[in-house]
């Protein structure tokens, strides 16, 4: 009986151990799987409240370019594996079996590439590739990947060869086999499983690198295929000075693309659709005194307003600001050839103050006459619709019905809607929430009648607080523009305005909106002339 109990205990222990391990390994993966198909998943639900394929649709929609990226990834990966194996198998054999001088140094060389962060290596490789005209070519991408994949392949190949019993080889040699025959019939077959593992590892390593690289801007791949090529060519043709033209080409190309490839683009024979996320080196193309006026401290201080999710948001993981406004600020700093410093605010009002008081050099605001007093605006780069949100049971059906005595409308204090509605609403009462994202919370907490805000923000809030709807249409359209302190003068304002027009014309703004999944905001039409607004 004791025996049976002991055996049962052992079986339970084994089963328990395996179950625990299975949970630790598959639990995280299952979690990911659930998230991939979840439309709504709020605490405290143990599984999502609503399943769907929305996000998959987004991945595979033509504009996302994911399918094309995937095909390119696999193709590049296969090429790199072939290259790595061709180089790594001989090297692994030499390390495992042959006599080598400075063996320790060589081993160290093959360890190093894994030991430091790749980012600076890639930056410096980009600099080399600009000169060699390898940026944006298949060869360039394969070589960059091969350098890192190779290290793994050499180590594993070396281990695989070392694991082959040398006595077997000696036996084969004693029986009269030549070195090549011995290698081909004894060593290689025995080491093959290890070598295949090596190849698979390199392949995986590559796919994950490609994935990481393609993620931030899937639209860029598509950009290569001529959709915006005419814009780019026109833009270059417009630049009279050959140096300027080169810079313009460099800017117009996707990140990391070599300026020298411009000629190929003009012919319509774009290089293969591959790219890296490396930014081009700064190429100051503005006169030094103008740069000094625009960024007097030597760095470009950009005022970023996190209060409007269309312009910027704080990354959930890093807390770093990102979004269309940050992308534009980055591009402008690149154009000036100076370092960018983000000055981040939670509200539009604080962001405006910073630029008005010249604590920041540029900012991103809705164009408004009141603000115009202290700020020089460019033309709009993005148009945003302002909407009203009401409870499902509300008698309000149309935007015109809002302005009635007794109706209380919540707006984000100091936001563009605040300024607009303060002027426009004659009868309704305005309630100011501390910030734009807090509008609906204030609306719910204080039992107001209407919440006013950006369409996307309100739609997100309506999902957060079920039982609410948006009134059809929009009560206003907001023109988002860049601005700088008025004291900087008209030449500086015109330079910024020209930059905004360039960014719209090149499709940079459209791509930034797509990259950050902003819907409902549209790229503003090109301004007729760069005159003051």
């Amino acid at each position: 009986v004791n025996d049976t109990a002991a055996r049962l205990g052992k079986t339970l222990l084994r089963a328990g151990g395996i179950a625990l391990l299975a949970f630790l390994i598959f639990g995280p993966l299952a979690n990911l799987l659930l998230w991939a198909f979840a439309e709504r998943w709020y605490f405290p639900g143990k599984i999502p409240q609503e399943f769907g394929l929305t996000f998959w649709g987004r991945v595979f929609e033509p504009r996302g370019g994911a399918v094309q990226s995937l095909v390119t990834s696999v193709w590049i990966a296969l090429l790199t594996v072939a290259f790595c194996l061709a180089v790594a198998v001989p090297a692994g054999y030499a390390l495992a079996r042959l006599k080598l001088p400075w063996r320790a140094v060589i081993l160290l060389l093959f360890l190093l590439p894994q030991a430091i962060p790749n980012l600076p290596i890639y930056v410096n490789i980009a600099r080399m590739f600009y000169e060699l005209r390898l940026n944006g070519t298949v060869l360039g991408v394969v070589l960059v990947h091969a350098a890192h994949g190779l290290v793994l392949a050499v180590w594993i190949a070396s281990a695989a060869f070392a694991a082959v019993d040398a006595q077997l080889e000696e036996a084969a040699r004693n029986l009269g086999a030549g070195p090549w025959r011995c290698f081909a019939t004894v060593t290689l077959p025995l080491a093959a499983p290890g070598l295949i593992a090596s190849a698979r590892r390199v392949h995986r390593h590559l796919l994950r690198r490609r994935a990481r690289r393609d993620h931030p801007a899937p639209a860029d791949v598509q950009r290569q295929h001529g959709r915006q090529l005419p814009d780019r060519v026109d833009h270059r043709a417009a630049a009279a000075d050959p140096v300027d033209r080169l810079h313009a080409a460099g800017r117009a190309l996707p990140q990391g693309q070599c300026a020298g490839d411009g000629g190929a683009l003009t012919d319509g024979a774009a290089p293969r659709p591959v790219r890296s996320t490396l930014r081009p080196m700064p190429n100051p193309s503005l006169p030094a005194d103008l740069v000094a006026t625009l960024a007097p401290t030597g760095v470009l201080r950009a005022s970023i307003n996190l209060g409007n999710p269309i312009l910027a948001h704080a990354d959930a993981a890093t807390g770093a600001a990102g979004g269309v406004s940050v992308d534009l600020a980055t591009a402008f700093a690149e154009r000036l050839g100076v370092t960018l410093e983000l000055v981040v605010f939670k509200t539009a009002a604080a962001s405006v103050d910073a630029v008005t008081n010249a604590q920041a050099d540029i900012g991103f605001f809705a164009i408004d006459p009141v603000r115009g007093a202290g700020i020089g605006f460019t033309a709009a780069y993005v148009l945003i619709e302002g909407c009203y949100l009401v409870r499902d049971g509300s008698p309000l059906r149309a935007n015109e019905e809002v302005d009635r005595a007794g109706t209380r409308v919540v707006v984000g204090g100091g936001s563009a809607y605040d300024l607009h509605l303060t002027r426009e609403l004659k009868h309704a009462t305005i309630v100011r929430a501390p910030s734009s994202p807090a509008v609906v919370d204030t609306f719910v907490a204080q039992g107001c009648d209407v919440a006013a805000g950006v369409k996307q923000q309100l739609e997100a809030d309506a999902r957060r607080f079920p039982g609410h709807r948006l009134l059809p249409g929009r009560f206003m359209v907001i023109q988002q523009a860049m601005g700088l302190p008025k004291g900087r003068g008209e030449a500086a304002r015109a330079a910024l305005a020209a930059f905004v027009e360039d960014m719209k014309a090149q499709g940079f703004v459209a791509d930034a909106l797509a990259r950050h999944h902003i819907e409902g905001a549209s790229v503003a039409p090109l301004a007729a002339a760069h005159g003051p607004h």
Partner: protein, 277 residues
């Protein structure tokens, strides 16, 4: 006297690739770390690195060493059972099971762990559902523990794979002899098997050590707040400040840590070579 040239011939292409795509950019990186704007030699970038990021350096080394220790324990346990375990089916299931994270890239691991270990993540759901912890006691593991868990989850299978391979080639006669003399399995593992695969374990751990030193995505996604790992600081210097000089200085510091791992391995390799001859 054996000739060197066949070995050199075979290894030259690989060395050339490493030289052009690694050593040269690394040289540029070193140059940038020690040069000021005027092109003169300076240590200012290193002073700044230590002034701002000394804590992060300690944090990085502590995290990576702790992860290595845990990886070693997990790898020895799994590989040991695969070699010495008596229950055939359990061994097969285990062999099938442990490899999965090998196929998951670091960036996906980061994302997976971010949702799994969060306060409202599946781990807490299961612990609460199983009555193991009180719902109010549920806490987020998305700090240094999250990074260690993600690293161990991702790297332990890699070391296990290497280790299990090495253990499988240990002479079974030794193991059987010890078992016949009545030694319990854990003693066979510690006394006979492990000493013979020590080298492989060390290689696996050194590779994991340097890999973890250079992973950006996992710390960025799980714990980007101070103190965090140096890779996050490097990315921050570059993406926010465009400050390649300090970023390169930080990279050189992490390179020194990596070199320490390589040195441990090389010393071991040299010792082994001396024993043989």
């Amino acid at each position: 006297m054996k000739k060197h040239w066949p070995g050199l011939l075979l290894i030259t292409p690989a060395l050339a690739v490493i030289a052009v795509f690694f050593i040269v950019p690394l040289g540029l990186s070193v140059h940038s770390a020690f040069t000021d704007k005027a092109g003169a030699f300076t240590l200012a970038h290193f002073e700044k690195s230590f002034e701002f990021y000394a804590n992060d350096m300690l944090f990085t080394v502590a995290i990576v060493l702790l992860s290595c220790l845990l990886i070693a324990i997990v790898a020895i346990a799994i590989a040991g059972y695969l070699t010495l375990g008596e229950h055939e089916r359990t061994r097969n299931v285990l062999r099938w099971l442990y490899r999965w994270p090998l196929f998951i890239p670091f960036v996906v691991t980061g994302q997976v762990m971010r949702t799994f270990l969060a306060k409202n993540g599946m781990l807490n759901h299961v612990l609460v559902g199983g009555g193991l912890i009180d719902p109010l006691a549920a806490q987020s593991l998305l700090d240094w523990r999250g990074i260690v868990i993600a690293f161990v989850w991702k790297q332990a299978p890699f070391v296990t794979l290497l280790l299990a391979g090495a253990m499988a080639s240990v002479e079974t006669t030794h193991i059987e002899a010890a078992r016949n003399l009545g030694a319990p399995r854990w003693r066979v593992l510690g006394g006979i098997v492990l000493p013979q695969v020590k080298g492989t374990l060390l290689v696996g751990l050194v590779l994991s050590f340097v890999t973890m030193l250079s992973v950006l995505s996992v710390p960025l996604m799980i714990n980007p707040n101070s103190p965090t790992m140096m890779t996050v600081d490097v990315a921050y210097r570059i993406s926010t400040h465009g400050d390649y000089a300090v970023a390169n200085a930080l990279c050189l510091v992490s390179l020194l840590f990596g070199a320490a791992g390589a040195w441990v391995y090389l010393r071991h390799a040299v010792k082994k070579a001396e024993q043989v001859s």
